[in-house]
């Protein structure tokens, strides 16, 4: 029986590849509880990778999409609306499937792009890998959801704020950066927190449906399934994965709560507190 320290050393970075830990995963009856805790924890690296990058990139695309959807120009509004509808209206599960199918149809040798003098061969193989393909799907997905939230917030910006901006002579980019954008964020933040939680949870779907795992590098759920299958007992591995997710979700809520307080710090104390605290005389 190996010790916990050995498990930790061999497995904690295993999800990054065989060269970063044991080449072979523990099998069958030799699996210890520590193996399960550390390998599933190692898989979380991928969940965090997908969640952090998709949210970071998606945030900017979402702002753009929300502005486009609120735009009076039809050629901006219509495509943005269509994009949002497509990604909000269909299950992520199916989006992953289509992305994988479409990306694996790209020619294996790469795409030749003729330039004036030379030809550049664009590699496409890496797109079928989860780290790229699934990230793109998650990025589009969260952009669509967040854009809808931002769009709602954009419409809810109090008229007084905009009038005040006008009175200060703010126009164009300055007006957007100093008044519209911060207010939009402040209003959208509680819903956006929810979206971030959902996206973080959605990362568990990556290796579950369409994208294959290479060299047994997968996310927390991939390893939880591996253990559930090796030990034939779903009541240890899945609760471990669930506990990790609860923990990280709490961290996420903490971080987003901190940002929320920063966004609202200019408000009078009573207005800030009102959302969170309320005497309990009605039951």
């Amino acid at each position: 029986m190996r010790t916990c320290a050995e498990s930790f050393q061999g497995l904690i970075l295993r999800s990054m590849g065989r060269q970063h830990g044991d080449a072979l995963l523990p099998r069958g009856m030799e699996i210890t509880f520590c193996d399960q805790v550390f390998l599933i924890g190692s898989g979380l690296i991928w969940n965090l990778y997908f969640a952090v990058l998709a949210l970071a990139f998606g945030f900017f695309l979402a702002t753009g999409l929300a502005l486009a959807k609120a735009s009076p120009r039809a050629w901006l509004r219509k495509p943005a609306g269509g994009f949002i509808f497509l990604f909000r209206g269909s299950p992520l599960f199916i989006q992953f499937f289509f992305a994988y199918e479409a990306l694996s149809l790209l020619p294996r040798t790469g795409v030749d792009i003729p330039l004036l003098v030379t030809t550049i061969t664009l590699e496409t193989q890496w797109l079928t890998r989860a780290w790229a393909g699934a990230l793109i799907v998650l990025f589009f997905n969260t952009a669509a959801y967040s854009a809808e939230i931002f769009h709602g917030a954009l419409k809810a910006i109090p008229r007084g704020d905009l009038e005040a901006a006008d009175a200060y002579g703010l126009t164009g980019l300055a007006r957007f950066r100093r008044v519209i954008w911060p207010t939009m964020l402040r209003l959208a933040w509680p819903s956006y927190t929810n979206e971030a939680i959902f996206l973080f949870h959605a990362t568990a779907l990556v290796y579950f449906s369409a994208f294959p795992a290479w060299q047994q590098m997968g996310d927390a759920l991939y390893y939880a399934r591996y253990f559930a299958d090796q030990t034939f007992n779903p009541f240890v591995a899945y609760p471990i994965a669930a506990a990790y997710f609860v923990l990280l979700t709490l961290v996420l809520i903490g971080v987003f709560g901190y940002i929320n307080r920063r966004l609202n710090r200019h408000l009078p104390r009573a207005a800030r507190a009102r959302i969170r605290f309320r005497p309990q005389y009605i039951r």
Partner: protein
Amino acid sequence: MFPFCTDPTVLPDWQWFACYLTTATHLAMYRSVLVVLLLMALAAPLALALGFLGALAMRSAFVPFRAVGTVYVSMVRGVPDIIFFLFVPLALDQAVEYVLHKIRCPDWSEPIRRGNDFVVCAQAKFPLSSSPAWIHDIWGFTLALIAFALVFGAFAANTLHGAMAAVPRAQTETAEAFGMSPAQAFRRVLLPQMWVYALPGLSNLWMILTKATPLLFLLGIQDIVYWARELGGQKTGLYAYPHPDWRVWYFLGVLCFYLTLTWVSQRAFDRLMVRMNHGQATFGGDALRKAAP
């Protein structure tokens, strides 16, 4: 299905497709759409009821209630639904049989857990193993329903809790000034008004519920995604209707199904929101009042 379907190998294209698309498995796939809709129709009110209880527990002044409500909501919200579905229904199933075993076979001397096995007496099997297959199917569906209701109940509880807190304090204060008891104030003033605040969140939740239904196949229900995978995969010469990998087309169909479903629900919620806004002291309500002649 059609009289000309007896030998598919000799049929011209259009007849081959007519026969292919009406095989018993395809009919089962069309029926599975109803299963998905039925699950949503049942899970939504159940989740709402559970969410209501959860929200009440979270607001309760009685600490144990508040603790139970808060723990339930934050636990379930913290776990991806897919992981929840992978072990909770199985645990639920065994819990039911364990309780039945304790009630129906009190004299049973052997242990229930024998090594890896979970063995209860024959009378405690739920459903009994002699029951016809459809009873097992209904039980499987019920387990899935409970799993969905538990997950979405937690999200609904959070939304409703927020909505109850969003009703302006002055409203309930006024109600109490009129001499209403807290219970009356809750029922007559807070409850009718909170829906307008809850609706955006609830409609969002409905959309998420819609898009979580592809996970039904994890719970052993033969839903539309199960059939799309099963029928779309390559069929070799062993089958009467051999074809290459057609999963793309099947999933395209499933995609259209879900897009239609969300589009219709979005329209319905938009209308409902307009009705809810009538007579409310909100921006939306003001707009409606101004628009009226």
